[in-house]
């Protein structure tokens, strides 16, 4: 018979244990080392603790189990999400993991989704933080309405310069590899690029031949190439918490669609960077295999009093705390708040002026997988052993020149292309490696892939004598009032609580940006000496893409400067609802309302927020009268 167990109270209760939670765990549990108070920290995750040596050292190569079967990802029978394109549709549940990925394989356990990503990192440029006001100032308010109907775009509460010191801490903690960001000057006065007060702690991995070719071509065209910023350690490293890090061994089972785990711990992950520091502090308790389903609130103050979770036996545990940090994966972060009645839930209306609330508001997409425009070509005399050798994200080269507002977006400057704002980080040369799961299967199973065609296309495929170049610029997906997350009325998780329902369709800005950017990519590919460079077909907004889903959906629980439209304030502290804020819960994660899309995931933008939030939590715990930080 399941029982209810009340756990000893903690100062800080962390919900979910991924990247952001790892930072909070380390910073709060060892606060006393920095002259602060000694805090008791408890962190709760629905999955296990993965030991990279024992859990991944051989099984990571098991493509059927891990790559296609997604053995290390969140089990769908436990919980799924439902998805639809418009608020008028019945949302269908995601029933299976597919290849290519149509839905993000959620992380599971300590480290969260980081265990299976490619390690793409970097910084968001200064424009990303002020893109609403910058766009209005340069192009006018009507321009924004044109490129993004029902726009819900806002500025961040802080500027890039204010986040810069937090980026430094974030990069040191995780041992990021790179070499500045393509700026010749690297001055705080630079606007086009994220300047850096100090370089990345580790040098980049060696450039691949394709990366070198891209670099030369980009330079010849007047761009400013720089090594892709990667979270896969290029050298042995010890971070600021004294946690040692093994380097990458370049065996090439890393990122890409199969999302292989890392057997050396070179791939940055809270479990192998920040959580070990918390563990060592003696002030930290890690609770695994425990599914958080509610946050209890005080009926009078409205503040959170405890997190309620199921253990694997079905017993209910109540974990009281003073302050709470919501570090759950994007959908779950929102879901637990909606289920618990915390903050003002977002309520959609066909009229943008009539929408209300903030929890679930501003869902965006960081990816256009296999849809939209695409440019491809082949690079002769450049083949080699791409698979399996390489790593998830190092070895490639990027430019920032075609993202943010680093070029003129006015109608006349776009030379007849449909208007848009923002752009994309363009790059080439990464060898994510992997095997057939990553290469053959990700190419897609279709009627054309049967019979003799399969034989001719696959023979010696892994011994290429020329390199196939392909790029789908991510473009810039802006929030609208029509894309959001709420609770599904018809489907529940294994415990009977409603699933998250995702309502999302691509916005014209995203398509228009891709349409323009592929031409620029074509120029670079041609400059590289590629042959048969072609641009794929465009898919119009609203066309039959309602079945395809970006697996980098993000947002829906955003930080902002407007209390009625955002969940978190500039300290990443909850300030919703406006009438009576639930101010003892903080958050960071995939909550990046207005990021520049320089990488598909929102992790790079959320990272510095975790350090900001840690600072906020310490300040909050020191308040004599608890309340909103200013």
């Amino acid at each position: 018979m399941p029982t209810t167990i009340t756990e000893p109270a903690a100062d800080v209760v962390i919900l979910g244990v991924g990247y952001m939670s790892g930072v909070i765990a380390a910073e709060l549990s060892i606060a006393s080392l920095n002259g602060g108070k000694n805090y008791k920290v408890v962190a709760i995750t629905k999955g296990p603790y993965w030991d990279y040596v024992n859990d991944f050292s051989t099984t990571k190569y098991d493509e059927w189990g891990v790559g296609l079967g997604r053995k290390y990802d969140s089990p769908l029978p436990l919980q799924s999400a439902t998805i639809r394109n418009t608020p008028y549709q019945f949302a269908l549940p995601v029933r299976r993991y597919t290849m290519p990925i149509q839905y993000h394989a959620l992380g599971h356990g300590v480290g969260g989704a980081a265990q299976h990503y490619g390690g793409t990192m970097g910084r968001q440029g200064p424009w990303g933080y002020t893109q609403y006001s910058s766009t209005i100032a340069r192009y006018g308010a009507s321009f924004l309405d044109t490129v993004n109907p029902h726009s819900d775009l806002e500025d961040w509460p802080l500027t890039y310069a204010q986040y810069e010191p937090y980026y430094v801490e974030w990069e040191k903690a995780h041992g990021l590899c790179g070499d500045y960001n393509g700026s010749a000057t690297n001055q705080p006065s630079d606007t086009g690029y994220p300047w850096m007060s100090q370089n990345y702690p580790l040098p980049p991995s060696p450039l691949t031949p394709v990366g070198q070719s891209f670099q030369t071509a980009a330079q010849a065209l007047g761009y400013h190439p720089f090594p892709h910023v990667s979270a896969l350690a290029s050298q042995p490293y010890i971070n600021q918490y004294g946690v040692p890090v093994n380097p990458c061994v370049y065996d090439g089972y890393c990122g890409g669609p199969c999302d292989y785990a890392c057997e050396t711990g070179a791939k940055a992950n809270a479990a192998y960077r920040t959580i070990p520091a918390a563990m060592k502090s003696g002030n930290f308790t890690l609770v695994v295999n425990s599914f958080i389903f509610r946050l209890d609130t005080d009926p009078i103050s409205g503040l959170v009093t405890a997190a309620r979770y199921y253990d694997p036996q079905g017993n209910v545990h109540v974990q009281p705390g003073t302050v709470f940090f919501n570090g759950m994966w994007g959908y779950n972060m929102i879901r637990v708040m909606l289920l618990s009645g915390i903050g003002a839930p977002y309520v959609w209306n066909s009229s943008p002026a009539s929408v209300t609330g903030s929890v679930g508001r501003g869902l965006t997409n960081g990816y256009l997988p296999y849809r939209g425009t695409n440019v491809s070509g082949t690079l002769p005399n450049n083949g080699g052993n791409a698979y399996p050798a390489g790593n998830g994200s190092g070895g490639s080269v990027d430019i920032y020149d075609l993202m943010d507002d680093n070029f003129d977006h006015s109608v006349s400057a776009l030379a007849g292309d449909p208007p848009f704002i923002g752009g994309a980080e363009i790059g080439a040369g990464g060898y994510p490696g992997g095997g057939p799961g990553n290469i053959t299967f990700a190419g897609g199973v279709s009627s054309a892939s049967m019979g003799g065609t399969f034989k001719t296309t696959q023979k010696d495929k892994y011994l290429p004598t020329k390199t196939t170049l392909s790029s789908t610029p991510l473009a810039h997906d802006l929030p609208t009032t029509d894309n959001y997350i709420d609770l599904d009325p018809h489907y529940t998780d294994i415990y009977g609580d409603p699933l998250s329902r995702l309502t999302y369709d691509w916005t014209p800005n995203t398509y228009n940006g891709a349409t323009h950017l592929v031409k620029k990519v074509k120029d670079i590919f041609t400059q590289m000496g590629a042959q048969n460079v072609t641009i794929g077909s465009t898919v119009a907004p609203g066309a039959a893409h309602n079945d395809w889903w970006g697996h980098h959906l993000r947002g829906g629980c955003r930080i902002g400067a407007n209390q009625s439209t955002s969940v978190w304030n500039k300290w990443n502290q909850c300030w919703s609802p406006v009438s009576k804020p639930v101010f003892n819960i903080f958050g960071a994660g995939e909550i990046t309302n207005t990021s520049g899309d320089n990488v598909p995931s929102g992790t790079h933008v959320a990272g510095p927020q975790s350090y900001r939030a840690a600072e906020g939590i310490k300040q909050y715990l020191a308040l004599l009268t608890p309340g909103l930080l200013t």
Partner: protein, 327 residues
């Protein structure tokens, strides 16, 4: 000479045992008859050796074959006899044998058989709860859908237990499209909305396919010309059959193709890609990162090389064997 061969045998037996242990530790399902059939093969080879020293060289060949197939299997654990003969021809149509090996040589059907008997067949990692709402094919402009909410949703503040009606439509023009996503692309995240696990789905699908072969091509699939076999599978991809046991033919075609590929290209430990013929054909090196057989190649160097190096592939079983100190 004979002693040396016996030592080979002993090692082989130990390797089989070792890999079984490792495999269960990483939750890869192995089946009892896999071990017993392997044991039978080993016994046969052993008696051959004992009986005829003069045939030592041929026995040695057999041993090396067995060693390569240490984790491959024969015999079926899930597919019925009828399903076996039909599926055999289907996988051979999807990846035919020409001058190079195809699905037949890879034993793709064994891979599928094992998968259907295991987690895949039971849809163990899938969200299977109702309601099961099938997509409208073709998209209708008049469909609306009325569905009751769950109690847990209805009980939340602001909600009610009244049925919810979905009219479909796009932003700005509500109510003119289907109440559900109308034509999900095959293989997409919301594609499989059936109340069947994959074992049932394959059972139903194979029966429907055979019925279609008879109605459209005048005979069982196995009896058709290879050109017609391919045409029929393409019909499924194109949703040409109008009656297909309430499943979308393209959904089944996707699954057939996907699983045949997997049976050709996944690690031999799962029963397909026997003798690593799929990897040899594609030039994939498995877990040989350049020095598995002592080739002396460096991973970092291979990453930046501009000319390909063909490496002999190595499998998970070999990798685990090597990792556990065997050779």
């Amino acid at each position: 000479m004979a002693d040396q061969t016996r030592r080979e045998f002993l090692k082989l037996g130990l390797a089989a045992a070792a890999s079984a242990v490792t495999a269960s530790a990483i939750e890869i399902p192995l089946f009892n008859n896999q071990n017993s059939s392997m044991q039978t093969k080993l016994d046969n080879a052993n008696s051959q050796l004992n009986n005829a020293n003069s045939q030592l060289s041929s026995a040695n060949t057999q041993i090396s074959n067995l060693k390569a197939r240490v984790n491959t299997v024969v015999g079926f654990v899930s597919l019925s006899v009828t399903e076996q003969s039909l599926l055999e021809k289907i996988v051979e149509t999807i990846i035919p044998t020409d001058t190079d090996p195809g699905a037949k040589e890879a034993g793709a059907i064994y891979f599928i058989d094992r998968a259907l008997a295991g987690d895949y067949g039971q849809s163990a990692n899938m969200f299977m709860d109702g309601p099961h709402v099938l997509p409208r094919i073709p998209a209708s402009t008049t469909n609306t859908l009325s569905v009751n909410p769950t109690l847990s949703w209805a009980n939340l503040p602001g909600n009610s237990s009244a049925p919810i009606t979905y009219t479909g439509g796009s932003i700005g023009t509500p109510g003119v499209g289907a109440g559900i996503t109308s034509s999900p692309r095959v293989g997409s995240g919301i594609n499989y909305q059936y109340p069947l696990n994959f074992r049932e789905f394959w059972r139903v699908g194979l029966v429907a396919l055979q019925a279609y072969a008879n109605s459209a091509y005048g005979g069982n699939f196995e009896t058709l010309s290879s050109a017609n076999q391919l045409l029929l599978l393409q019909d499924l991809w194109g949703n040409k059959p109008t009656s297909f046991s309430n499943i979308l033919p393209s959904d089944f075609a996707y699954e057939l193709t996907f699983m045949t590929w997997a049976g050709f290209l996944m690690d031999p430990i799962y029963g397909g890609n026997q003798n690593m013929v799929g990897w040899t054909f594609t030039g994939f090196n498995g877990v040989n990162f350049g020095n598995f057989y002592g080739e002396g190649q460096d991973q970092k160097a291979l990453m930046v090389a501009t000319a390909p190096t063909r490496l002999k592939p190595a499998s998970l079983a070999q990798y685990q064997q090597q990792a556990s100190g065997g050779t």
